[in-house]
């Protein structure tokens, strides 16, 4: 059964609050939880601007939001850098779902939580079953996106770079796959922060040189 979880913002800019609201529409649901925006009261996740006056009371889990060049907070809590990114936010939610479930089972050592949250920011996604036509809608782009997700788990950034499809369209498609239980998400712990969520390095694209030439030759590029 899905958990109903809440996220609240503290001291964020109006545009950022709006972004969070929109992000929730795309990545606010998973197999484990449905997230909603809480405007007051308790929340399982609180996003607070690092320069806001005081830490909120009663927040089970606090995540700081800061400018790109702001120093990391001394408390070791997770930090989201501006501008807010939907895939990072989605990974954060998935990570907190895992953390909440683990805490409920009392098997998660407290000291491991920040490290786990950091690792879970690297969320990657893999298809678990080829989608039906109700989801593919006989659209070439959707079939291609689904195919990329067969071979290995990909982050949104990787999927965007490989497919050439915009981030929003990729995220929306992932969201639909997740809604239909056709997607698994992973947070590979061996990867350093930022690595998995990044676009493919030049070496990876070079490895696809033959594929690129064949695509061009067949008029698929």
């Amino acid at each position: 059964m899905k958990q109903a979880l809440r996220v609240r913002t503290e001291g964020l800019r109006k545009a950022e609050e709006l972004s969070i609201s929109v992000f929730l529409r795309f990545v606010g649901q998973s197999e484990k939880a449905t997230w909603s925006l809480s405007h007051s009261g308790e929340a399982e996740l609180v996003l607070q601007a690092l320069d806001a006056p005081a830490a909120p009371a009663g927040a089970a889990r606090l995540v700081w939001v800061a400018d790109p060049d702001a120093p990391a907070p001394a408390d070791g809590k997770t930090l989201l850098r501006r501008p807010l990114q939907v895939e990072v936010f989605g990974a954060l939610l998935r990570g907190h779902e895992e953390g909440i479930a683990a805490a409920a089972q009392a098997i998660q050592p407290r000291a491991a939580v920040p490290r786990q949250a950091a690792a879970e920011m690297q969320a990657t996604y893999r298809l678990t079953r080829w989608p039906g036509d109700d989801l593919l809608q006989n659209q070439r782009q959707r079939k291609i996106l689904a195919s990329f997700l067969i071979s290995r788990p990909l982050s949104v950034a990787q999927l965007t770079a490989l497919s050439g499809v915009g981030r929003e369209a990729c995220t929306a498609f992932l969201r639909e796959l997740a809604d239909r239980q056709l997607l698994e998400s992973r947070n590979p712990p061996a990867l350093a922060a930022g690595e998995a969520a990044s676009a493919p390095p030049p070496a990876a694209l070079a490895a696809g040189g033959l594929i690129g030439r064949l695509r061009k030759r067949l008029g698929l590029a």
Partner: protein
């Protein structure tokens, strides 16, 4: 070694036609007169079909079509080994298309884990059952997940779609190997 794409599937599934849709030159075919009434066609491939797609710089991608008869199943994994991609074409007008798919999955099982593969189901317009979802179920039961598409191999865009989905898988695999 030059890269290759392989088309396999039971007799009459359209392997020769699919290669002809892509090849720069008329494919080399090794057809003979068919004496198996059940196949319902005058000629059938007993060796293999061969075509090429030339790339810039003199490189070429070879296109192979396997013989479809089950007695040649020892050839299938040999031809598929190290392929850039594999299309398994299924003829939905045959008596048991799901069993056809199972046969090819079983014969090719050792090569499939590293393979970019697509299942193309033909003649669905006149034979709607089994549906695409049932083929996906067969794949899942055998532990595989590949794209399953309705195809008409007489339409080049359908053949290109299969190739494109192969290439997407291959490209994602390359990314994994480079990291």
């Amino acid at each position: 070694m030059e890269p290759k794409i392989v088309f396999t599937g039971p007799p009459g599934a359209g392997k020769t036609t699919a290669i002809a849709a892509l090849s720069d030159t008329p494919p080399v075919v090794t057809d003979v007169a068919n004496h198996d009434v059940a196949l319902g066609k005058a000629r059938t491939t007993v060796g293999m079909d061969f075509g090429t797609v030339a790339l810039e710089g003199g490189e070429q991608v070879r296109l192979f079509g396997t013989p479809g008869q089950e007695r040649f199943d020892f050839l299938w994994p040999i031809l598929v080994k190290d392929a850039l991609g594999l299309a398994i074409l299924i003829d939905n007008s045959r008596p048991d298309p799901l069993t056809d798919l199972r046969l090819f999955l079983k014969s090719l099982a050792p090569t499939l884990p590293k393979m970019a593969c697509v299942i193309g189901v033909g003649r669905l317009e006149g034979h709607a059952r089994p549906g695409i979802e049932q083929f996906v179920d067969v794949l899942a039961a055998a532990g595989w997940m590949f794209p399953v598409l309705p195809v008409d191999v007489r339409k080049r865009e359908d053949v290109l779609m299969m190739v494109e989905l192969m290439l997407a898988q291959a490209e994602a695999k390359n990314l994994g190997e480079s990291q």
